[in-house]
Assembly symmetry: C2
Amino acid sequence: MALVHTGMTMSLDGFVADRRGGTARLSDPAAAGGSEYMDALIRATGAVVMGRRTFAMAEDPDWFVGNYEFQVPIFVLTHTPPPVMPAQDGRLTFTFVTDGIASAIAQAKAAAGDRVVQALGASVVQQVLRAGLADELHVDVAPVLLGEGLRLFDDPDLEGVALEKVGVQEVGGFTSLRFRVVT
Amino acid sequence: MALVHTGMTMSLDGFVADRRGGTARLSDPAAAGGSEYMDALIRATGAVVMGRRTFAMAEDPDWFVGNYEFQVPIFVLTHTPPPVMPAQDGRLTFTFVTDGIASAIAQAKAAAGDRVVQALGASVVQQVLRAGLADELHVDVAPVLLGEGLRLFDDPDLEGVALEKVGVQEVGGFTSLRFRVVT
């Protein structure tokens, strides 16, 4: 059964986007395409669950095929599916899920086979943790302070989530923290 | 000249105290008294700058002598010094500084000799970073989500602070992240 990994890159002060919505300062050139770290992540991933906001960060929805790091089935959690289906191919498909995080995760697990489901985006991270659907939480800490913006963790209900550190890896200037979510 | 290190332990979601002001879940038994990590930190420290809030967390101000991990000169940044001077001894002294962070840091540097000044407490961390007075920022990430409480970083003006990762150390379940503050 596919495991569910959630998390993303945040600044040391906890932001996944700056005050203008930008994420450039959260990208590590050393960690980008071709690195061993990303290659391993890509090989391990069988499906992705993302929120509407993450999906919309690509200005052209047809950009994903051939460009997005994960060329796998993508499940977009949204109340308003786009009127036109974005480009898909034999590897990267889109499913717009309107009935909640549990449904999105269940569909992604079925698609991922024995590989991992990546649940990505600040809102999705919070939802999947709150719902007890995540097996691991991975946070990559960028060596930067953004001051304000969109926080990765901004939810009082996360207080009950118990974590156990399973690994720490330095990736360029970034630090990748991996936790098992204890249920 | 003494270097200034600032930072503290925060939950993975960025809090230094929970919604009730508690910090028990941010204490790692493995990292506590007697550990190599704490011993090295204590040996390196020549003076401490703390805020009024950190000072007041000890319900009895006389508790510091003989109990606080850093038995060194302590400079408390406050607008309202206590009416009665807390207990002091030949190693741990108290100075209440009412004329701002730059003055507190200057006095602490003079007291620290060639050892390090630790600037501690969420408000002090933010002030010392904003004022460009910190040489290093150390954040120990606790494997816990607190949901809400007092944030370590909650200041838009921190956006301009540039960091360079200089070290990562696992201490029990905690991860100690050390950054040079680039000026």
